[in-house]
């Protein structure tokens, strides 16, 4: 029977030759990811259900990356880090990345890739909805809650309903004014925030395979914004090169069969596409930047698992070099590695860090920061009637802090162009 890449990976994890869309199967989990918001309650449930002296099923397969509320004076947030530290020490977890040490990494979905945990063909569950990001590596990744995560901690297994797949093919050569963010916002506008609920979103086509791995991660990252269970891109030579540079683990590459069944197939030609934003207050409220051009903004924000990778800052630097930000602009590198790269990588001979500093941007320490609002003292948190243009992933009411604020989700190019003018601006005006 023909299968999609997602079915094949789930078949492998279920020790089966074939799994059908719609059936519930028990999967062997390769990696469980958690962080400072959902780790402590997960560990509580684990102790409650398996006993105070219980050991996790496989310490090597548990990855704990604190990233949400790191640089805050909030005492409850500090306590959560203490709880992670204590559990990791007691369980002897080698893959705990402690805050305040040189092991600290930053945003978990980007750090997973950098630390070599994204392995083609494997199954990852994480206590964060953006765990689907890792699907850019030809693997299955999806978000779960604390109870499910505690179940995995004790057993190494979880049930999942095999998803139907939706295919999104992007043909043509990527124009310089578009980024992966425009492609996924286009899809969201087409299918809505529940357009892929309980389904896999599979991306392919010439334009997708021309993208570096980090840009592909932007596509799979926002699968959850359409309600998708997972986003996935079959591994190619670019993926293999990245994986080999970051890990020595074996991997298996799966492809969808040519006659695999799909819920639907959508084709796009990127040459016919335009820079777009998601207007307040929903990621599917798409508009071309041109159609809302001139809307005044009070803040620009470039960061998060979606838009705080090195490739995002390379795009922003193209526009910010030699120009001034007209509104407060936050640069929030996703990880310590990305922050270091800002000091090393250059555009037209100038480091990205210098470009952003010269443009008057503030560079923050790596964490999730204001993408999800966070405690009151979080860098970049929206206040009152702020109008923010942001490279993050959600703009539901109150997401970045203030319930009264409006957030326009945009590509790093659009966020940078809008920072320069203080109004929503199509990046083609500067390119």
């Amino acid at each position: 029977m023909a299968q999609t890449i997602t079915q094949k990976i789930l078949s492998r994890a279920a020790n089966r030759k074939f799994v059908d869309a719609g059936e519930n199967v028990w999967l062997n989990v390769d990696i469980l990811l958690t962080h400072d918001v959902c780790g402590p309650p997960t560990f509580d449930i684990f102790r409650q259900e398996f006993g105070p002296d219980a050991k996790v099923w496989d310490p090597e397969k548990v990855v704990v990356l604190p990233d949400h509320y790191i640089f805050t004076a909030n005492e409850h947030a500090h306590r959560n880090i203490d709880l992670l530290r204590e559990f990791a020490a007691r369980q002897g977890l080698p893959n705990y990345y402690d805050v305040g040490t040189d092991r600290y990494k930053g945003v978990c979905h980007v750090a997973l890739a950098e630390e070599g945990f994204n392995i083609p063909g494997t199954v990852l569950f994480g206590t964060d909805s953006h765990t689907c990001t890792s699907g850019a590596f030809g693997m299955f990744g999806t978000g779960i809650g604390n109870t499910d995560a505690a179940f995995i901690l004790g057993t190494g297994k979880l049930w999942e309903k095999v998803p139907e797949s939706m295919k999104f093919t992007f043909e043509g050569e990527m124009p310089e004014y578009l980024s992966a963010k425009d492609l996924i916002l286009q899809i969201l506008g087409d299918i809505g925030t529940d357009g892929a609920t309980y389904r896999a979103m599979e991306f392919d086509g010439e334009a997708v395979y021309s993208l570096p791995v980090e840009e592909r991660m932007t596509l799979t990252n926002m699968a959850i914004e359409a309600g998708g269970m997972n986003g996935i891109i079959a591994a190619d030579a670019v993926t293999e090169a990245y994986v080999k540079a970051h890990s020595s683990k074996p991997y298996e590459i799966f492809h969808s069969d040519p006659d695999a069944p799909y819920h639907s197939i959508r084709r796009y030609n990127v040459k016919e596409m335009e820079p777009v934003v998601a207007q307040p207050h929903s990621p599917d409220n798409r508009a071309t930047v041109r159609s809302v051009q001139g809307t005044k903004i009070t803040k620009s924000y470039i960061g998060s698992c979606t838009g705080g990778k090195l490739t995002d800052f390379m795009l922003a630097a193209k526009i910010l070099k030699g120009r001034q930000a007209a509104v407060p602009t936050n640069i929030v590198p996703a990880t310590v590695k990305v922050a270091r790269d800002l000091e090393i990588e250059t555009y037209e001979g100038v480091t990205l860090k210098k470009i952003f500093e010269d443009a008057g941007c503030s560079i923050a320490l790596p964490s999730c920061a204001a993408c999800l609002g966070g405690p009151a003292d979080t860098v970049g948190r929206s206040v009152d009637y702020d109008v923010v243009v942001s490279t993050t992933n959600r703009n539901f009411p109150g997401r970045m802090g203030s319930k009264k604020a409006g957030v326009y989700l945009a590509s790093p190019l659009t966020a940078a162009a809008s920072a320069v003018t203080g109004k929503l601006t199509d990046p083609r005006d500067f390119l």
């Binding site: 519930n24 028990w26 918001v37 959902c38 402590p40 309650p41 509580d44 409650q48 259900e49 398996f50 006993g51 105070p52 002296d53 219980a54 949400h68 509320y69 909030n74 409850h76 947030a77 306590r79 959560n80 994480g126 206590t127 964060d128 909805s129 765990t131 978000g143 779960i144 809650g145 604390n146 109870t147 499910d148 179940f151 004790g154 057993t155 049930w159 925030t193 529940d194 609920t197 309980y198 309600g227 269970m229 929903s282 999800l372 609002g373 966070g374 405690p375 009151a376 959600r394 539901f396 009411p397 109150g398 997401r399 319930k403």
Partner: protein, 192 residues
């Protein structure tokens, strides 16, 4: 488990995401300390813009100022309830506030799993648009065996979609209870 859930309805619109159910700034409280747990009840649905809470009238808070519990037992909502983040704090906060069931047109996957596997609230779906036929404050009665909901205020009864496979997990009270019952956790029993 109980066979009847009866109480006042609280009506919401579509795409109620987890940031509206429990805003991210409140995710720092303990989920096991009884005193701190009460705060999840206090802030349940506090991220919903006031005019969109307690429809059709609006501006009806789910939990009154200064209270930790809601007077509403059954939440009625449109499609895609619980979209957004994976935070289990969301269905947990609804349970702590006193909600026992949700009747929505559809759910986001992670929220739905969390409701069922954590045994917090029962996530019912219906093909009918109940948000147009139920007003906040109406008295509703869910008959779990018959799989129906009746608006006692108006006398109208609707069929709920079958819970299917997950009914066994709901009946057991969550994934752990279910897995033990089905002997799926052999060798991983709690240490006494």
């Amino acid at each position: 488990m109980e066979t009847i859930i009866q109480g006042k309805a609280y009506v919401l619109g579509r795409n109620i995401d987890t940031d509206q159910i429990i805003p991210a700034e409140h995710l720092v409280y303990s989920l096991s300390d009884p005193e701190e747990v009460k705060l999840y009840g206090k802030y349940a649905l506090s991220g919903v813009p006031p005019e969109q809470g307690g429809l059709p009238q609006g501006n009806i808070p789910f939990v009154n100022e200064g209270s930790f519990r809601s007077e509403f037992t059954i939440i009625v909502a449109g499609p895609n309830f619980g979209c957004g983040s994976s935070r289990e704090h969301a269905p947990f906060s609804l349970q702590v506030a006193g909600a026992k069931a949700i009747i929505a047109e559809s759910y986001a996957r992670i929220f739905y799993r969390n409701c069922v596997d954590g045994g917090f609230v029962i996530p019912y779906e219906t093909a009918d648009t109940l948000t147009e036929a139920v007003r906040t404050g109406d008295e509703l009665k869910i008959d779990i065996e018959a799989n129906t909901v009746t608006n006692l205020t108006t006398g109208v009864t609707w069929q709920l979609n079958p819970l299917g496979d997950v009914f066994n997990i709901v009946r057991a009270g969550g994934i752990f209870a279910y897995a033990r019952q089905e002997n799926l956790m052999a060798g991983t029993e709690p240490h006494e």
